[in-house]
């Protein structure tokens, strides 16, 4: 199986592109970091890649709301190319700011041409928080990234606008029924998660959702920052495992099969 080329798309203010490139390489992909400006006028560049990552950071400084201006870029600069990329079934993952951009552009929960079904907004705590969380994958989700993910993942969140809010009850039910809630925050002891297990007050403890076909995933936490045993916060207590790496491995494996 050849190593798929994975496009990591930077915008001005993106800052976890390096972490993401490292995780992609670690998971067996070939990371290619490009700036949005390098796609300007050449959206077909997208098609030289088998997978797309929108990494974390503060694109355009979160001016006018996290992810909003990058979402507008996506629409204006390469909407058709991205639609073709998605139509081919090539996987797309948006992390933190990338998730915000996917939601603000309508790709998540999707479809992008309908009215917005959900948003990501200010944390209930009203502040930026950096802390480690636990994530469980939904076994009934069509998501290609979380497929066969049996162990929970532990990794950090680092955001101020990560509270997932569906438009209404109907929108939430639809997400649930379609298995689009791919990842939820968990409490370690099996209780219902409350703050800070659910660090931002997301409805139904939603940490990540996918589109209805499962090829686009967005999540607030940073699995790319837990791909090595040394990164575990309790390594000195001999805790290990629960890496975020499998999300990338699964996605890249899926991309390689297309």
């Amino acid at each position: 199986m050849s190593r798929p080329r994975v496009l990591i798309l930077q915008a001005t203010g993106t800052n976890r592109d390096g972490d993401t490139a490292f995780a992609v390489a670690q998971a067996g992909g070939i990371p290619v970091v490009l700036h949005v400006n390098q796609l300007r006028g050449k959206p077909s560049h997208l098609h030289a890649h088998q997978m797309l990552v929108l990494p974390g950071g503060f694109s355009y400084g979160d001016a006018l709301g996290a992810g909003r201006l990058l979402a507008i870029d996506m629409r204006w600069l390469f909407e058709e190319a991205l639609a073709a990329f998605v139509a081919k079934g090539k996987p797309v993952i948006g992390i933190c700011n990338g998730f915000q951009a996917l939601v603000k552009s309508g790709w998540l929960p999707g479809p992008p041409d309908g009215p917005a079904r959900a948003t990501l907004t200010r944390n209930v705590s009203n502040r930026f928080e950096c802390r480690w969380v636990w994530l469980a994958a939904n076994p009934d989700s069509p998501c290609v990234f979380t497929r066969d993910l049996s162990d929970p993942i532990t990794c950090p969140v680092a955001h101020a606008e990560g509270r997932f809010v569906p438009r209404d009850e109907v929108a939430l039910t639809r997400l649930q029924d379609a298995g689009q809630i791919a990842l939820t925050y968990q409490a370690l002891d099996g209780r219902d998660p409350s703050y800070p297990d659910n660090p931002n007050g997301s409805t139904a403890d939603i940490a990540g959702i996918c589109n209805d076909t499962g090829t686009i995933l967005g999540l607030m936490p940073h699995p790319e920052d837990h791909v090595l045993p040394e990164q575990h916060p309790r390594r000195t207590r001999y805790e290990e495992g629960n890496l975020g790496l499998p999300l990338f491995t699964q996605g890249i494996r899926y991309a390689a099969g297309i």
Binding site: N15, F58, G61, T119, T121, C130, E230, P233, R237
Partner: protein
């Protein structure tokens, strides 16, 4: 017609965290009649827009349809005066950096809507319940609006835009040759030059020799370059020093005869640079020369480290001051061609619960300063994607008018990749932000004392940063460095172009045309362009052949770049505005023309209040008080607001332990890009209370602590580099300078004893405040020592949390009766006593512990600092959620340690509490041969801290959960 549109975007998504937080703050202000608030964003757009345009802007750019709604209107003069007592609207003064407005302006054009002339933003706060106009004014002035950068209205605000102005080429010639001494002094005050009479006379003489008068550009250039902030005159001038007591200098028992006099050629050379030279570590690449100190990391990479202060700006506008402080120190690291990989911050505030009556007028309340500063650091570091991993927060009354904000940054670069050699013919390129009036006179202002009126007279010196512009500049510079496109680089900081271009061209000479500088708005006079301290700008020397490629890189990263001049080779500083030459000075005058004067310094041991300690003190209660002291209390609330994980390198986090809430001694990072398992540790040492007793002891203790911190997390004590940052009062006063001399001597002696070089340093002097009645208030002398240590293998680092019941607990180091300046004495209302004395052979202890770490003998390790053994053991229990049983009687102690309180709370240097598994005890003890150590007890499963005293009876027993609750429920920001 020139309409102004007002768009309000309001929340309709249920509970709004912003509104909840505001309500809490009202309660803190004592306003309890408000039962609800809401907060909306305001956007003002000026220009001939159609209603359809405004609708499109509101829906496509401004509103989140799931949780927000909008309404818009055309502003008319009559409407804007509507007074609504229930609302406050806050906007920026024109010209204050407002990235949201800038983005909105550009995006509107991209929507295909033409004609938009100007954009500004604001915030609307509405209060439900009953509230008086007077209360609204209080909320506005004490919480929502800082009149240094903002303005507020009760009811609907009238937006203010930057007024239209034509470009200005006006240059004044200052007839300085004619002026007498009084007129010279007046000139200095009127132009905010902060030059001394000596300096003004030197300028006068220089222009006599040139046979002409200076232009305003020239005079301002000299004032900036000669300011304390840029030149560090105090650290370079000769000093006559006398001292009348204090502890003898280590290794120099008869250092100075009583009342003798010592001639010191210069603090920087005599103590700091000399120490680095004598320690002679081969891995030091650059010390005190570049924008940051540089050491080798491994065969491929080098690390740079710089710590700056941004105290005066943070006092006036806490968010903007701290924000641009972080931005500035990051630019220092970019200025040595490195990629920033870690940030540090150390903050000193007055106690947050200080009553309003004790806060001098003209000064913000400490709570407001603390919140603004933390938010400013959060904003810049997080948006740059640089993990903030290390720091401290201290609280002391005398920081009320002069808070301290130390910002640090570490960078990484391929070894030897930083060029520093501008060639004649290279062009001068400015990269990044545009130039505006922001930050005029920052360098001179930060070299002066603050007064109750400073906020109103020099408000323009304070600015807000734009981290995303700097992030783009950073990416572009790293790429340009990789392609070897420039021959020199520096950042634009204090003094603006005057300083950056002037320093870069010192050996070569420059010719600059200010008309080429891109401006935020027209109307700046040439001297303003030359002096502006607008943020996010770098200056590069670029061979002409590389310009095209540099331009391509800048286009990719959205970075504006402009050629503003050329390096000449004639050793002149020549500045033009179009055809007009506005400055033409010999570089030698600019950089070497300042008059050297011998400064007077005296140090007398102070009289300090004695602590009031009752005989029946309950040690458990004292421990609880210590844990509840904000200096010691958990800083988790602040730490979590900084992204400490970005870049994936943070292997020992600032918070460690069973549930990630223990206070780590230091952070360890292993950059993803480096091979192998080597990493580096960042620590710091600071204790102003010792400095009140003897700055010499303070300096030793700070160096000892900075080293202890990094040794605790596995750094090799032979490979630790130090940074010094002195925050002091007015050095023209002999007592302030005397204490500075003693601290510098302590730095020198300690660096030699520890064989640890200083690689960079900075001073912030004149941290004094004169209130409306003329009363002067100064900060305690405050020395921060930052440490950067190499960790040979990050997999072997221990953390400070207790790991397992049954393990043994050792106290390494000697405990002496050293309670002077200690937390224990401060809790009892006094400072008096012996401060921790130097431990000249501490390095041997550090080496032994490092050996034990490398051999896997240690499970947990924590140093003893504020609060001594009592606080250290409590913190280890809390972090591990385990108990401890220890006995004091076996501890190695000095003859003065006769009671349990002294044994538990003494703050002697070079001490560690260590957890060792029983099967490693023999090897561990062997590693410590000939060093002071004692086995004190063991770790227990039951979460209880149980301490038997010197007489073997139980003197302290506390539930760990109770200790944790006290330690975690303190207001720290």
């Amino acid at each position: 017609m020139r309409n102004t549109y007002r768009i309000e975007v309001f929340w309709r998504g249920g509970v709004d965290g912003r509104a909840v937080a505001l309500l809490e703050q009202l309660t803190q202000l004592g306003i309890d009649t408000v039962n609800g608030t809401d907060v909306s964003n305001l956007y003002f757009l000026r220009g001939p827009l159609t209603p359809a345009d405004v609708e499109q802007i509101a829906t496509e750019l401004l509103t989140d349809p799931v949780v927000e709604g909008y309404r818009w209107d055309i502003i008319t003069v009559s409407k804007a005066t509507t007074s609504e007592e229930q609302t406050i609207e806050v906007g920026f003064h024109p010209g204050v950096t407002d990235p949201v407005a800038t983005h909105l302006y550009h995006r509107v054009a991209l929507l295909g809507i033409s004609g938009l002339e100007a954009v500004t933003t604001g915030t609307r706060y509405r209060f439900m319940g009953s509230i008086t106009a007077e209360a609204c004014h209080r909320i506005a002035t004490e919480l929502l609006c800082n009149d240094v950068i903002q303005t507020y209205t009760l009811g609907e605000m009238m937006p203010e835009f930057v007024p239209d102005a034509a470009p200005s080429d006006r240059v004044d010639v200052i007839p300085i040759r004619r002026l007498g001494d009084d007129a010279l002094t007046r000139l200095s005050i009127e132009r905010v030059l902060f030059l001394s009479l000596d300096e003004l006379q030197a300028i006068q003489e220089a222009f006599e020799a040139l046979d002409r008068d200076p232009t305003d550009v020239e005079l301002e250039t000299l004032a900036q370059t000669w300011s304390e902030h840029c030149l560090h005159k105090t650290f370079k001038s000769p000093i006559t020093y006398r001292c009348t007591g204090g502890m003898p200098r280590a290794g120099k028992p008869q250092a100075m005869p009583k009342d003798g006099e010592e001639k010191i050629p210069g603090l920087l050379e005599t103590y700091l640079q000399a120490a680095t030279r004598q320690v002679a570590k081969p891995w030091v690449r650059s010390a005190f020369v570049d924008n940051a100190g540089i050491i080798d990391f491994d065969a491929t990479y080098e690390l740079s480290f710089k710590v700056e202060t941004h105290n005066h700006p943070s006092a006036l506008e806490p968010f903007g001051g701290a924000n641009t402080g972080v931005g500035g120190v990051i630019r220092d690291v970019i200025g040595v061609s490195a990629r920033p990989i870690a940030a540090t911050d150390v903050l000193c505030f007055a106690p947050l619960d200080m009553p309003n009556v004790e806060v001098p007028s003209g000064t913000l309340h400490p709570r407001r300063i603390a919140r603004g500063v933390v938010a400013g650091i959060e904003d810049y570091g997080n948006k740059m994607g640089i993990p903030t991993v290390s720091g401290a927060i201290l609280y002391e009354d005398d920081y009320v008018a002069n808070p301290l904000v130390y910002c640090g940054c570490v960078g990484i670069a391929p070894r030897g990749s930083h060029p520093r050699d501008p060639h004649p013919g290279d062009v001068i390129v400015v990269l990044g932000g545009r130039t505006g009036r922001d930050g005029l006179h920052g360098a001179t202002f930060s070299s002066a004392e603050l007064t109750h009126e400073t906020g109103t007279t020099v408000g323009s010196v304070v600015q807000i940063g734009d981290p995303i512009t700097e992030k783009a500049v950073m990416d572009a510079v790293v790429q340009a460095r990789n392609e070897e496109l420039y021959s020199a680089i520096t950042d634009c900081g204090a003094g603006g172009f005057s300083s950056a271009v002037g320093e870069m061209g010192e050996q070569v000479g420059v010719d600059v045309d200010l008309q080429n500088v891109p401006l935020k708005y027209p109307g700046l006079r040439p001297w303003e362009i030359w002096l502006s301290e607008a943020q996010e700008r770098m200056v590069l020397a670029v061979p002409e052949a590389n310009l095209q490629r540099l331009g391509e890189i800048c286009r990719i990263y959205d970075v504006e770049w402009t050629v503003i001049g050329r390096f000449t080779g004639d050793q002149q500083l020549r500045v033009r505005y179009g055809d007009q030459i506005v400055a033409d000075l010999p570089m030698a005058l600019v950089h070497e023309g300042w008059p050297r004067t011998t400064l007077e310094a005296v140090w007398d041991p102070p009289d300090l209040p004695a602590p009031q300690i009752g005989s029946e003190t309950c040690l458990c209660a004292v421990l609880m008080q210590a844990l509840a002291h904000p200096d010691v209390a958990s800083k988790e609330e602040v730490i979590r607001r900084y992204d400490h994980e970005v870049q994936g390198a943070t292997v020992v986090k600032p918070l460690v332990g069973r549930v990630n809430d223990g206070p780590s001694d230091a952070a360890v990072l292993k950059p993803l890009m480096t091979s192998g398992m080597q990493g580096f540790a960042l620590g710091c040492g600071i204790n102003p209370h010792y400095g009140r007793i003897d700055p010499y002891a303070m300096a030793w203790a700070a160096v000892d602590e900075a080293l202890r911190n990094v040794v605790c997390v596995g750094a090799d004590p032979e490979k630790v580099a130090l940074l010094d940052n002195f925050c002091w009062g007015n050095p023209a006063l002999p007592d302030r300078l005397g204490s500075l001399v003693r601290a510098a001597q302590g730095c020198y002696d300690a660096a030699l004893a520890f064989a640890a070089p200083f690689i960079s340093g900075k001073d912030s002097l004149n941290n004094e405040f004169v209130d409306a009645h003329g009363n002067k208030r100064t900060i305690p002398p405050t020395l921060l020592i930052s440490s950067l240590g190499i960790v040979p293998d990050v997999r072997t680092t221990p953390t400070m949390d207790l790991k397992a019941a049954g393990n043994l607990i050792y106290l390494v180091g000697e405990t002496r009766a050293e309670l002077g300046g200690s937390l224990y004495h401060r809790l009892h209302g006094g400072l008096q006593g012996l401060p921790p004395a130097p431990v000249p052979d501490a390095l041997q202890t550090f080496r032994a512990l490092h050996h034990a770490i490398e051999h896997g003998l240690i499970r947990a390790l924590h140093d003893l600092s504020e609060g001594g053994l009592a606080v250290t053991s409590a913190e280890m229990c809390i972090a591990g959620r385990l108990g401890l049983e220890i006995t004091l009687s076996s501890m190695v102690r000095g003859p003065g340690v006769r009671d349990d309180a002294t044994a538990l709370f003494s703050e002697s240097n070079t001490r560690f509490l260590v957890e060792v598994p029983p099967n490693k005890a023999g090897d561990f003890e062997a590693a410590l041969t000939k060093l002071p150590w004692a086995r004190l007890g063991r770790v227990i499963e039951r979460p209880t801290l149980r301490i038997c005293g010197l007489g073997d009876a139980v003197v302290l027993e506390a539930n760990v959960d109770d200790l944790r609750r006290v330690w975690q429920s303190v207001e720290i920001v």
